[in-house]
């Protein structure tokens, strides 16, 4: 059984970006995930998300959760990479927020 790979690209209405060059949070424990945010100049106003997860059949949930977070925060200009080991949506939102905070917050 292979890992599920998901790729999304969004364009938030009020784009903001993180202060630092990059940010990382989390450990891929059972029911947890890691988030890596890297600034990319080519992605001005846009955001690219790459997810690698062990869970099969929850693609729509992933899209909803991630899109909701980006619409709320306006995170853009970055590439987000996620390694997931069956985390629940609440944990995903929490880790995304922590990763943004760890990168010096939005500006």
């Amino acid at each position: 059984m292979a890992l599920t790979e998901l790729n999304y690209e969004f364009k938030p209405e009020t784009p903001k970006t993180i202060k630092d060059e990059w940010s990382h949070i989390g450990v891929v424990a059972s029911g947890d995930l890691e988030v890596l945010i890297e600034k990319e100049n080519a992605l001005k106003g846009k955001i690219k998300i790459h997810i690698l997860t062990t869970v099969v059949g929850f693609d729509d949930v992933w899209e909803t959760v991630v899109k909701k977070f980006i619409d709320k925060t306006g995170l853009s200009g970055v590439k987000v990479s996620i390694n997931d080991n069956a985390a629940t949506p609440a944990v995903v939102i929490r880790r995304l927020q922590q990763a943004v905070d760890n990168g010096g917050g939005l500006q």
């Binding site: 059984m1 292979a2 890992l3 630092d20 060059e21 990059w22 940010s23 990382h24 450990v27 891929v28 424990a29 059972s30 947890d32 890691e34 890596l36 890297e38 690698l52 997860t53 062990t54 990479s81 390694n83 997931d84 080991n85 069956a86 760890n102 990168g103 010096g104």
Partner: protein
């Protein structure tokens, strides 16, 4: 990205992630990570098997400074696949050790000798169940490479092992841990070869009950290991205390640091075998009986009493070498 060093000093070592432990153990803001998350070097084997991967493959390695010493830190993450050693994280571990050796040799070549207050140090914070079964041979290969390097580090670079995280040091990593010059542990430290569940599975519940947590802790836990002499420092559970203990050790001459080695010479092997002989002769059924032989009273209370009290009453196995 920034990790606040001051916050880490008071943080529980047991609860800290591998990266926090690595950053907190060296001097403020001196840690430089090799192959960190941004390098995205994940395990190719786990990917094929459909298992979750991690960007740092469950280990944080790098170099920092303590006073004037270059300090090579290897910190394992027990929450990712049980901290088990695979091809990528194993290579990161073995080659960081090799780098410590290389640094020593370069210093010696350039300056003629390596002064005690500048010698390189190698610290490993264990949190691993052994070799990662998904990539068995590749993991074993890296285990043997790190063992070989430890042999070469002997009498050159102090190798300090730390156990005090969720998993402890089990399986192949139990060997690697006890090959150290100095072993430091908090009350959560565990060292063993075969884990409790596996022992129960192999020899039966009557011999070793894996659901009896008190039995596990008094057999494999840091306090028992401290009495038997496998653990040299039993300390409080904050990253700061681990750091302070290391800071106090590093300036000592190599000959003094290596006095607490547990393996490495025929005499030491003989001394270790005496414990086995003693246990067989006296028909030891529980580690408490062994503690009694070394002169400890109140053995029933010893696993539960506060650490200060334990350290004030404990009597340890005398060492001849």
């Amino acid at each position: 990205m920034k990790i606040n060093w001051e916050d880490l000093q008071g943080k529980s070592f047991y609860q800290a992630t591998a990266r926090e432990r690595a950053y907190g153990m060296v001097d403020k803001d001196t840690f430089k990570e090799f192959l960190g998350p941004r390098d995205k070097m994940t395990s190719p084997h786990l990917l094929i098997l459909g298992e979750a991967v991690e960007f740092d493959d469950g280990i944080t390695v790098g170099v920092g400074k303590i006073k004037k010493h270059p300090v090579f830190v290897i910190s394992q993450e027990g929450k990712f696949v049980g901290g088990a050693l695979g091809e990528v994280n194993g290579a990161k571990m073995a080659y960081t050790m090799k780098l410590a050796l290389k640094t020593y040799e370069k210093m010696k070549e350039k300056y003629g000798s390596v002064p005690d207050d500048r010698k390189p140090i190698c610290i490993v914070s264990f949190d691993s169940g052994g070799v990662r079964l998904h990539e068995a041979n590749a993991g074993l290969l890296m285990h043997s490479e790190s063992m070989e390097t430890i042999w070469e580090l002997q009498n050159k670079v102090p190798y300090i092992a730390i156990t005090g995280s969720t998993i402890g040091a089990y399986g192949a990593q139990g060997f690697v841990c006890l090959s150290a010059d100095v072993v430091i542990a908090n009350d959560f430290g565990r060292i063993g070869l075969t884990g409790p569940e596996v022992i129960q599975q192999e020899v039966g519940k009557d011999e070793f009950d894996a659901s009896d947590r008190a039995l596990i802790w008094r057999t494999m836990g840091a306090r028992s290991k401290y009495i038997l002499g496998d653990v040299d420092y039993l300390i409080k559970d904050t990253i700061g205390t681990f750091r302070d203990t290391i800071v106090n050790i590093v300036d000592e001459p190599m000959s003094k640091i290596s006095k607490t080695r547990k393996v490495g010479s025929p005499q030491l092997v003989e001394e270790n075998l005496e414990v086995v002989k003693l246990a067989a002769e006296k028909k030891i059924k529980d580690s408490k009986d062994l503690w009694k032989i070394y002169g400890n009273e109140n053995v029933d209370q010893m696993p539960e009493m506060p650490q200060e009290k334990f350290l004030s009453v404990v009597k340890r196995r005398p060492r001849r070498i």
